[in-house]
Symmetry: C2
């Protein structure tokens, strides 16, 4: 089996690659080859016995998708995107990478499908940004898509393309609407949503973190481990069961910031909680007000997608996967 990961150098891409290596296969079949692609050259994964091709490629550039697809990978994970904040600041770049890049990929597959019936599984990462305020809680699976950012618009458009290209039989597509990934490993970054991770990750290693919003802010989370789990499951399930609505809101943990902090207290004690410094930020508060508080994710749950049950579990996953299993 040959797997192509586009966006392999990102956090989720690296964890997905590592999981494919440790699983030694996908859907009961051994993985002989992985093609890992990103705008910066992805690292070779440790411990993989098969062939690895690591390429520095921008799929939004004309012709690049065709080249990648020419070797006919069996499964394509398309994770490449620029993030919400950047897509909002640079309108043209957002549409070029997040929309045109995806469309080029889909069209390259369609043309090969027309030649010889090539029909890979395509797992596309969408986002909860496809919905926009006012939002109910929980948000039902069939809630209308009214994105309020260019990023969310681009993801919603790609969901529509994925559904149409799948309906026409060009590939077997599934869209995975990722919750906010928490706890993101690494250093604090400037993403407006970064604080959801920062207020747990930094105190867990004895460092201060800034909380810019009130404790009653509710949001929708999943661990990096579960995010990778959705992608693997999406690559293996029987798509006959999914019907014409190809993009699914994933299960996750809906929690207020206060609930996140209580979980931190239970897992790491009062001394960790004391490292959270309140510093209200009006701009972040305003942005967060339009974000999704949580989804029903009924269809995805019925289809066997799973996530953590609460934030204690999300924190423990972080301790296991990032901190060697202990504080």
């Amino acid at each position: 089996m040959h797997i192509l990961v586009i966006g392999a150098a990102g956090m989720v891409g690296r964890k997905l690659t590592a999981r494919l290596v440790s699983d030694q296969g996908l859907n009961g079949r051994p993985v002989e080859k992985m093609t890992l692609v990103d705008v910066i050259k992805p690292d070779h994964p440790d411990g993989f016995n098969g062939t690895v091709e690591a390429l520095e490629v921008d799929v939004s550039e004309p012709g690049q998708a065709e080249t990648l697809i020419a070797s006919r990978p069996d499964v394509i994970f398309h994770l490449a995107a620029i993030v919400s904040g950047e897509a909002e600041l640079d309108f043209e770049k957002g549409y070029r990478i997040n929309l045109d890049g995806t469309r080029h990929l889909f069209d390259a597959i369609r043309l090969l499908n027309g030649e010889d019936g090539y029909k890979p599984r395509v797992v596309f990462t969408s986002s909860i940004a496809v919905v926009g305020a006012p939002l109910p809680f929980p948000i039902p699976d069939d809630f209308h898509l009214t994105p309020l950012t260019s990023y969310g618009t681009q993801k919603a458009i790609c969901e529509l393309l994925l559904a149409d290209y799948s309906r026409r039989g060009f590939f077997d597509g599934i869209g995975i609407r990722l919750p906010t990934v928490c706890i993101r490993p690494g250093k604090p970054n400037k993403a407006a949503s970064g604080f959801f991770s920062n207020i747990l990750r930094e105190p867990l290693i004895g460092q201060e973190a800034v909380l810019p919003v009130p404790e009653d802010v509710r949001h929708w989370h999943t661990s990096p481990r579960s995010a990778v789990g959705y992608l693997i499951h999406g690559a293996t399930i029987d798509l006959e069961r999914i019907g014409s609505r190809r993009s699914l809101s994933m299960p996750g943990v809906s929690a207020t910031v206060g609930e996140q902090i209580e979980a931190l207290r239970r897992v790491a004690g009062e001394k960790a909680v004391r490292l959270i410094r309140r510093k209200p930020d009006e701009m972040i508060m305003k942005m967060v007000a339009g974000w999704a508080p949580g989804f029903e994710a009924k269809r995805a749950t019925e289809l066997g997608f799973t996530a953590e049950q609460n934030f204690d579990e999300i924190i423990r996953v972080h301790i296991e996967d990032e901190l060697g299993g202990q504080l």
Copy 2:
């Protein structure tokens, strides 16, 4: 005021142009210039005192939209599209005309907006094909978009673009989801939906028509006159009231084929009804089963969009507008 109509040679485009001429203006302002554009050269309208530019242009070709927009029209009606059946048969043409053509237009406006703040009203014709079965009756305004055709996918994508470009302030956009236009004037055509018009239009002039579906088939209709009315109203209403959801399901008449026939009987008598010949067509029956039975259209109604109340009225509009007012 300068008005640009893209898709001016089509049935709705011609009626819109005629209405603008007979109104002698738009929103209380005189129309000095009309630019009429289509892939075949539109006719000059009768009785217009201002300047008319009639152009044979395909806006999906690179650079054409920029040229059209360079004269900075105040209002742009974008009606150009290839129809559902053709978009399904010719995948690439459908995406090129219905998606890329619209995006080129929107981008041409965006670039001028960046130069000097040019910000026209853009009235985009969408379609009830943006929703797909299973459908409730009536379909609420916030029903999720799950198009089951490439045409519906292209319209839904353009609705998302319209909303994002409007949100960013590049133009003032409004999307009008047209019901099936009935009674379409002219000759019977090969569109799968053609029979809805044929079974009324042909008997009204003493000719036979074929009915390929059972009488309990329910669908969603509006007259050509009301369709033009939506576009005019969409060009003039205060868009502050519309919020972030820029595309509206229009009011219309929900009727079964049996109810259409009863209306024909009331207006034109039994002899007209006797000209309808039943000839079941499995393929058309299957297609029609997925079509919209009717919409709530609550938001559009609150915003002042209006339609006929029943099919008697739709037939009378046809007699007035197409048959000189009498049978």
